[in-house]
C-alpha cells in the first residue's frame, strides 16, 4: 500500500558520505528542506578510503582542521621504486592531514543537522520512480517499508550507486577504469616518517597502481593498495605479500580491514537527469592518479547543491535545467582531469626498470609536474636531453606524453 509521508522534500540526498553531507550542508544553509538517507548503520564506517586530505582542499572547501579528526599532520611525501630507491619531498610547513574519517563525517553530519538537515541511517532505497513531476522513493527500514517524496534526488551513494541507475542515469563503472583497493589500518608499526605519505611503486608490488602508508599518529597508519581491477590476483594477495617482507610492518597489529572499488577513469560524462543530480564516487569524482576523492566529492556535492537551489528558485527540475551542473563541473575541473588522466596512462606504461631509473634521476618537483601535466617547455627539454636520454624506451613513452595535446 502506498502510504507516503505527506511531506514533499525539496531535496533528498542518498548517501551520507563527504559528498552527500557537503550537499546537505549547503541546502540546509539555504533553509531548504533536505533529507539524507543512508543504508549503513553508522556514518563514516566502514571506511573505503586512505583518509588523506591536502591543504588546498581545506582552503577551497573553507574547512578548518580539528584535532578530533585531523589526526596527523603531513609535510611531504616519499616515493619508492621497486629496488628501494626513493624520491623524497619534505617541507617545514603542513601540507595536509590524514583524517579519522569516522569523526570527520560525524562532525559534518552534526553541523548539517544543526543547520536544519535531517539524516536517517539504515534506510535502504530499493526503488525510485518519477510520478507527477516528483520522485517517489521506496525505502526499506528494518522489516518494513517507508515511502518518501521529493522534487530532486542528489545521488551520493558511492561506487555502489543504484539510485541514479533507478532513475535512468547509468553510473556503472567499466572494469578497465576501476581499481581494486584493499587496506589495513595497522598499529604498532615502525620504519617510516610519520610526517610523510609513503608510496611504493612497481609492477610486482602493485600492478597498475601503488601501495601506500598514510600515517595516523602514534605508530598507526593506513597501509593499503590500489591495483587494476583486471589483475588475476586480488588486491589482498598483493598487499599481504608485500607486508610480509616489511620489517617494520610484518609484526604490527591490524585494527581495521577496509576494501573498496575506486573509479579512476574520469568523471561521468553526464551527471544529471530529470529530478536527479549525482556527486562523489557515484559520479566517478576521483583523482585518476592517486585515487583520492574526499575533497573532490565535497566540491561536487556543494556544486550539485548550488544547482539544485537554482532549480528550486526556477521551479524547474528538468534535466535541461539541471544539466548546467555538468557543464559547470567540467569547466572548473575538466582540464585538470584530462591532464591527470594522461598522467595516469603514462604511469601505467612504466616498467620496474623505468621506476628505478626515475627514482634515481628525477626530483620530486619533476615527478609532481609530470603527474599534474604541468611541465613547462624548459622542464621538458631538461628531462628529455639530460635525464631520460639514457633510456630511449622511457624517453619514447614520455615524449608521446609530452606532445599529446588532447586538451
Amino acid at each position: 500500500m502506498f502510504d507516503a509521508e505527506k511531506k514533499i522534500w525539496e531535496v533528498i540526498i542518498v548517501g551520507a558520505g563527504p559528498a552527500g553531507l557537503a550537499a546537505a550542508t549547503e541546502m540546509a544553509k539555504a533553509k531548504t528542506s533536505v533529507l539524507v538517507l543512508d543504508r549503513k548503520q553508522e556514518i563514516g564506517c566502514p571506511k573505503r578510503c586512505a583518509e588523506g586530505l591536502g591543504n588546498g582542499w581545506f582552503k577551497r572547501l573553507k574547512l578548518k582542521p580539528k584535532k578530533e579528526w585531523a589526526v596527523q599532520e603531513i609535510k611531504g611525501a616519499q616515493l619508492y621504486s621497486p629496488n628501494g630507491k626513493s624520491v623524497k619531498m619534505k617541507k617545514k610547513k603542513v601540507l595536509g592531514y590524514v583524517l579519522e574519517r569516522k569523526m570527520f563525517e560525524k562532525d559534518l553530519a552534526i553541523n548539517a543537522v544543526k543547520l536544519g538537515a535531517k539524516i536517517l541511517m539504515k534506510h535502504q532505497v530499493v526503488n525510485a520512480t518519477r510520478e507527477n513531476g516528483l520522485v517517489k522513493l521506496e525505502v526499506e527500514v528494518n522489516d518494513s517499508k517507508k515511502y518518501f517524496q521529493t522534487k530532486m534526488i542528489i545521488a551520493c551513494d558511492g561506487i555502489d550507486s543504484k539510485v541514479a541507475r533507478m532513475l535512468g542515469l547509468n553510473t556503472k563503472n567499466n572494469l578497465k577504469d576501476t581499481d581494486a583497493g584493499y587496506q589495513y589500518e595497522m598499529t604498532g608499526i615502525t620504519g617510516y616518517d610519520e610526517n610523510l605519505l609513503h608510496l611504493y611503486f612497481g609492477t610486482d608490488v602493485a600492478p597498475r597502481g601503488y601501495i601506500w602508508i598514510f600515517p595516523k599518529r602514534n605508530k598507526t597508519a593506513n597501509v593499503g593498495i590500489g591495483i587494476g581491477a583486471y589483475e588475476e590476483k586480488t588486491a589482498k594477495y598483493y598487499l599481504d605479500k608485500w607486508i610480509a617482507n616489511q620489517e617494520g610492518l610484518k609484526n604490527g597489529s591490524i585494527i581495521e580491514v577496509n576494501a573498496g572499488g575506486i573509479p579512476v577513469g574520469g568523471f561521468l560524462d553526464k551527471m544529471t537527469a530529470d529530478n536527479l543530480l549525482v556527486a562523489g564516487d557515484a559520479g566517478h569524482m576521483v583523482d585518476p592518479i592517486h585515487g583520492g576523492g574526499i575533497g573532490i566529492a565535497m566540491e561536487g556535492g556543494k556544486l550539485a547543491a548550488k544547482h539544485a537551489l537554482t532549480a528550486i528558485k526556477k521551479k524547474d527540475y528538468s534535466d535541461k535545467q539541471l544539466n548546467a551542473y555538468t557543464k559547470d563541473w567540467f569547466s572548473s575541473r575538466g582540464k585538470e582531469l584530462m591532464r591527470r588522466l594522461k598522467g595516469r596512462h603514462l604511469l601505467e606504461q612504466l616498467s620496474n626498470d623505468d621506476f628505478n631509473y626515475l627514482a634515481e634521476s628525477i626530483t620530486m618537483d619533476e615527478a609532481l609536474k609530470i603527474g599534474n601535466g604541468t611541465l613547462t617547455a624548459k622542464d621538458k627539454v631538461v628531462l628529455g636531453t639530460k635525464k631520460l636520454i639514457k633510456r630511449p624506451g622511457l624517453l619514447k613513452i614520455m615524449m608521446k606524453y609530452f606532445n599529446d595535446k588532447t586538451e
Binding site: 543504508r39 549503513k40 548503520q41 566502514p46 573505503r48 539504515k122 535502504q124 530499493v126 558511492g158 561506487i159 555502489d160 550507486s161 543504484k162 541507475r165 556503472k172 563503472n173 567499466n174 572494469l175 576501476t178 581494486a180 583497493g181 584493499y182 581491477a229 583486471y230 589483475e231 586480488t234 588486491a235 589482498k236 594477495y237 580491514v257 577496509n258 576494501a259 573498496g260 572499488g261 573509479p263
Partner: protein
C-alpha cells in the same frame, strides 16, 4: 551459472555493485544480494573484488 558471494570473505565495500552491468547485485548494510535472473555471469564482479569473495559457479 551465476555469481555467488562468500559472506565470510566479503567486506561489503560495494565494488562489485559498481561494475555490474545488469544491476544484479545490491549491497545492503551487512550483506550482498544477487538477483540470479539478472546476472549474466560476465565475471566483472569476480575480477574487481579486492578479497576474492565473488565466485562464478
Amino acid at each position: 551459472m551465476s555469481v555467488k558471494n562468500n559472506p565470510n570473505k566479503c567486506l561489503y565495500c560495494g565494488a562489485c555493485v559498481g561494475v555490474c552491468p545488469t544491476q544484479a547485485i545490491t549491497l545492503k548494510d551487512t550483506r550482498i544480494e544477487i538477483n540470479k535472473e539478472k546476472c549474466v555471469s560476465c565475471g566483472a564482479c569476480v575480477k574487481i573484488c579486492p578479497v576474492g569473495a565473488m565466485k562464478l559457479e
